[in-house]
Amino acid sequence: MVKAEISRKAADFFLKNIDMLIEKPVRFMEVCGTHTVSIFRSGIRQMLPEKVELVSGPGCPVCVTPNDYMDTAIAYAKNENVIIATFGDMLKVPGTSTSLYAVKAAGADVRIVYSPLDALQLAVGEPAKKVIFLAVGFETTAPLTAATIQAAQNQAIENFFVLSAHKWTNEALNALLSDPEIKVDGFLLPGHVCVITGEEPFHFVAEKYKKPAVVAGFEALDILQAVYMLAKQVHAGQAKVENAYKRVVKTQGNPAAQEMMAAVFQKTAANWRGLGKIENSGMAVNENYARYDALRSIPVQKELSKENPACRCGEVLKGNIRPVQCPLFKKICTPEHPAGACMVSVEGTCHAWYKYGQGRYHYGR
């Protein structure tokens, strides 16, 4: 009881100051999907003054995974000698004509794992099969994939492969900011990504694009504090990268994890659902570890990939529209039958809007 009272007092302090500091309407983007969920779960959107709008960015790894990748994974899953090992939320991501969930129901061997190391163990236990780990995620999960590939090499495990869709978030943010249509006045930077990368990769936000940015933690008060710091910068007409998550994020990040990524991956162009192809934003397995790259080691024929033309995930991911402005939202596209990836992951913007009842809400404003 006491803790909640202190939380409410702190929240009141931030909200009052945000209200005082912000004079005209602003839009801040939370880049990370975990922020999106925390914002909805704590009710921050309703608590902020109306002139402060939070929009969700491209920071949910499931949401930005394109049909092309899913179609490849599905084609592999149909191969009788292959076991697909995946994080659970990839199961329902729609490909062009089907999903892993559907091919699993039809008999494909698709297993949920919690870490790439689980997939490696699976490979050890199933020596007659080829285990392909769907390596999806940003800088937060990539180091573990890199470590697992190194472990596979050290242990001479020959039936473990990865299908890498790992991505660099800073490159996506760069692409987003270079789009003149984007109207965002400041950024909540992804705390967990910065734990690995440090702040430096995001300095361009302030230096090149003159936008304020604050590295934010994930508790409700962390987020309110970060919004408050953005408001202070906006009020003062400043643009710098600040860290509101110092208890976890070090300025230089985690050098050991950075080295591991550098040892195993090389930068490549990558497709982002909704954002399209972004140069240098992908992590491909490099030549030294080529034999662990599913694409280079296991031939596969996949169907021709097409995106659903009515799905507006892309504009949602850019923060240009709200989910309720998509014609499919809640009509054709639901968590049960997602048309776009933003509805699949619990961290997807559309899923959060759907789940937390935006647009049909009679409590508060």
Binding site: A10, G43, D89, M90, I112, F138, A220, Y361, H362, Y363
Partner: protein
């Protein structure tokens, strides 16, 4: 019974079937009704009755805090109790898969007997079938039950009105967390176990203390969120839950944080929600706190007329979010 594994013969109706009944089912479930050995049990009740049925499929079959047999008895007992009835008689139908270990079957029926004894119900009739290997999941159980409605009580969702208290009987999410942790081989503390329990005796006590209780519901599949939404919809009232009042164990909260689950949506097998006039709350809580299955009961929120059909949650920082009807199964997330 010499067989170590169930064979197709155990479901064929001949000598092996009789052996299964005589050596496993009868000794475990034995009572005067079962001993009639008719095609059906002849029973008597004094009042109007409630009648319910449910089928049980769970993987894994055995888990910390119970097994499929305990679920099958407690589930039906609890469904009857939630209608305001005293559970009396239940039936047990089993579908066994060829090759199912007889030792596991014994263990399951023994647990069922213990649960029935604790709940004070008789297992009065039953049936067993066997399906070919790979055509079942070891064992499926269906139970149906009859209970006598308690006079003077009228339990129905439509009786829930604005301004009532919402009480939960204890910690939320224990069952689902225990099962999922096991299913996905996650290491969790031993203290985390299924809450599977018969609630009928506790229900009888609280109905005696507060016969005017409007509605009761056990928070099984879909968790507390599903129950709140169902009743909000049926009664046409709004509900506002206070996050800081929600009883969730630390380990369950941690489990949820790691996998992206929400304890409000996790299944329970021994927890109920009670909707009652505020004037009755203290009486109900006093009774519950003296009972093993209600000792952690607390008020988690109240009903209102500001947002008919909607369930809101006041968060720890003072915001409000919607608790929606669960959609689809909960799937663990990436990061």
């Amino acid at each position: 019974m010499e067989d170590k594994f169930i064979t197709m013969a155990h479901g064929a109706g001949g000598a092996k079937s009789q052996e299964l009944v005589a050596e496993i089912m009868m000794p475990a479930f034995d009572n005067k009704y079962l001993r009639q050995m008719h095609d059906g049990a002849k029973l008597s009740v004094k009042n109007n009755i409630a009648f319910t049925t449910d089928s049980y499929v769970v993987e894994p079959l055995f888990f910390n805090g119970g097994n499929i047999g305990k679920l099958a008895v407690c589930g039906t007992v609890n469904d009857l109790a939630m209608t305001g009835a005293v559970p009396k008689y239940i039936s047990v139908g089993m579908i066994l898969e060829e090759g199912f270990p007889v030792s596991e079957l014994r263990s399951i029926v023994d647990t069922m007997r213990q649960a029935a004894d604790e709940a004070g119900v008789y297992i009065v009739t039953g049936d067993t079938k066997v399906v070919n290997k790979n055509n079942g999941d070891g064992i499926f159980i269906n139970t149906a039950g009859i209970g006598e409605l308690i006079e003077g009580c009228d339990i129905a969702p439509q009786n829930v009105k604005p301004g009532m208290d919402i009480i939960v009987s204890g910690y939320l999410g224990d069952h689902a967390a225990a099962i999922m942790a096991l299913r996905h081989k996650l290491q969790l503390p031993d203290t985390l176990k299924s809450d599977c329990a018969p609630l009928n005796k506790l229900v009888a006590k609280i109905l005696k203390a507060a016969p005017g209780i409007a509605a009761l519901r056990d928070a099984t599949r879909g968790g507390a969120a599903a129950v709140l939404n169902e009743i909000a919809g049926q009664a046409g009232v709004g509900m506002l839950i206070d996050e800081e009042c929600l009883p969730v164990r630390r380990e369950v909260r941690g489990f949820c944080d790691i996998l992206g689950f929400d304890p409000m949506y996790l299944a329970n097998e021994g927890k109920m929600l009670i909707f009652a006039n505020k004037a009755d709350t203290a009486k109900i809580l006093a009774v519950m706190h003296a009972d093993e299955y209600g000792k952690n009961a607390c008020v988690i929120g109240s009903t209102n007329d500001t947002a008919p059909g909607e369930v809101g949650l006041r968060t720890n920082i003072g915001g409000i979010r919607i608790i929606d009807m669960p959609a689809g199964e909960q799937i663990p997330r990436i990061c």
